[in-house]
Point group: none
Chain length 223, copies 4
């Protein structure tokens, strides 16, 4: 699945109404503004400590307007999670593709894994708000959000799994349950990204990514 596809627009009731001065493009723009404001305030204070008034204020809109674009606070957060997942996958996908094209690497599969790791850490490094939203807030919101988050996780792991299987087929990676391997890779990346939120590691994300890649490929045993 390619998440870079545009999401199905949430035409609820107004979809069938007359064409007005402000078109869909305008509407999407306003929606994105709210989403952006929501990201800022949710990342700052967490889901429960953030009020819809905070969101509205940050967006420079009035109180009830947010409800014109989103049905509820929860719906807003789900939309935010979708948005972040898309951004993440766009970033990784682009990175992997760029790399494959640039290097014309015959060992694309292994290379893809390396670059996915680097790109993921890079993404969360550049957008710490995204890391907070996905790794911290999403976990605290009850079952519905947990399901959503694990959906994201599944898709993320699924993509890695594809690369793992490919790498195994070319013999670049030893045999083993690809799902579990993929999960392990994702786990390491996620935890590292989360940890970097709260500690001030002096190491750059490139160094950390390379360490993880090395660890995963070569293990801890002395060679």
């Amino acid at each position: 699945m390619r998440v870079t596809d545009p999401p199905a627009p949430e035409l609820s009731v107004e979809g069938r109404n007359m064409r007005r001065a402000s078109n869909d493009e305008e509407k999407g723009k306003r929606r994105d503004e709210i989403l952006s404001a929501a990201k800022t305030v949710f990342a700052r204070s967490g889901f429960h400590s953030t009020t819809m008034a905070d969101v509205a204020k940050e967006a420079g809109l009035s109180y009830g307007t947010v409800y014109w674009y989103f049905d509820s606070k929860e719906a807003l957060f789900h939309a935010l999670m979708d948005s972040e997942e898309m951004a993440l996958r766009a970033h990784i996908g682009q990175s992997v593709i760029d790399n494959a094209l640039a290097n014309n690497d015959p060992e694309v599969a292994l290379s893809a894994i390396k670059h996915a790791i680097r790109a993921t850490l890079e993404f969360f490094e550049n957008d710490r708000q995204a890391a907070r939203l996905l790794f911290r807030d999403s976990l605290s919101l009850g079952d519905k959000f947990e399901q959503h988050l694990f959906g994201i996780y599944e898709r993320f792991i699924g993509d890695i799994e594809v690369a793992i299987v490919a790498a195994q087929q070319t013999g670049r990676i030893r045999q083993g349950p690809p799902k579990m391997i993929a999960f392990s890779v994702a786990a390491l990346i996620g935890q590292v990204a989360l940890r970097r939120l709260v500690t001030d590691d002096e190491l750059s994300s490139v160094v950390v990514a390379d360490f993880i890649v090395d660890l995963l490929l070569n293990g801890l045993m002395p060679r």
Copy 2:
């Protein structure tokens, strides 16, 4: 304290004045009962969705009583985190020591790592509530709890680090930044424990633990 012990059965039909704690021992017992009840309901619904009335009801007490033992909902949760950390460390410590003694292993350091991983997964396998509390709810409660959780994490990683250093000194593990290695180990364990909360993996925790140990030691590259 053994957290894996089944909770004290809830005496439901006692007269309301029969439950009076009278001495220090009784008092500590009552406190533990509340802690146990809190663990159950917090793990079930999460911190924010759980009310103090829920805690009291689960404990079979009036909810003013909970405030006799804990100053606030937050204080109760902090106490719960402390309690879980102690239980976890007791479980791991015991497990490592038991293993060292039982096997009289000259390669204690490496063995300790393996067994710590197994013991940790075992602990969370046996006490899924603990996993929910530590890996999910703790992250949603603002800075104070985040600090507390990362304190627990630091201590956990610190213990692993000791074992890593020891294993490096005996040449059983290749050189490299022990802190980062320890963190990677902890990250894998934590994510695995968390994941097992929501998926019904058919694999036992022993199998998973062994996979992780193998992955960490040997890496993904073909040998």
Copy 3:
């Protein structure tokens, strides 16, 4: 604002959405309605025995609405004190000026004192709720309110002091510390107003005021 005006009658059977304040004028009006309702219930039962629900009910509003206009119960009471002070000062000021103009009195200073006393007693006679609020409840609310009340007191005494000094300069009043004299005058007025809350003196406030004026001017000694 005239506090002696009868409160706006409570429209009781309006639909709940009819009471929506729409513009600034309406908004100030709604605020005043809440203030008026608060005055009634606080004067009836005292600060601590009055709940915000009582205020809302008296105002015919839902009690979340009170919080739309006032940040807290304390803020509401402070606003009430401000409002009463303004009303009192408006009443006295008007009275003094009216008198000076009407009589074209060359001994304005002495006359002003007499009339300030009369006007103050008159004010509290007409608005016993105000007397309860200022003299009774304000004292029971801790330091912040005590400070507020004494601020009001200081300003009240300050005004009297000005008149005292003027009367001393024209020789109509003997020398002596004007602040202390002013305070004594204020003390007598305040206590008289307070006392009239609980006893049913048959005497009119005019008679009482004249007695006080006479007492203050001539003292108790036989002439």
Copy 4:
């Protein structure tokens, strides 16, 4: 009425019980300790902000013990008001009598008034806690306490009235309604005492008392 009479002991149920090791004297002592502690904490924080736990702690007693001596928080406060009234009247009575005996003053009536004023201010000067209790807290507690306070006030005024009448009969004070005069005297004293709670007047209570006496006797008019 002489309030220096001992209060009727509050023998509720235990009065008829067997004579135990601790006698009535002991019991009264403990009761007084609680009263003293209550005075301290009520004066410090006010009635509503003080809990029975505060009282118990200040008295060095356990939580429920206070209830063995007083039926309720309100009963405790009423007892405190009684106690303070007795102390005040004892102080004034003693002072007046001492003065009359010492000076063998033929103008005892006028002298008594002067000395009552001085003694009262002195009392509240020496015991600011008493002033806070009577002038501040008593007013904020609803009708029952208001009635109690005005009873104290009535008795206080009544005593002054007696002296006023006597002074009028000996011609030392001009004619006029003695009750109203007495009230005015009491009002001035009370307000002065209250004011001295919150301002740091540099003047001693003797100077203030003399000013009030002079003001009352001679008035403000130039002689």
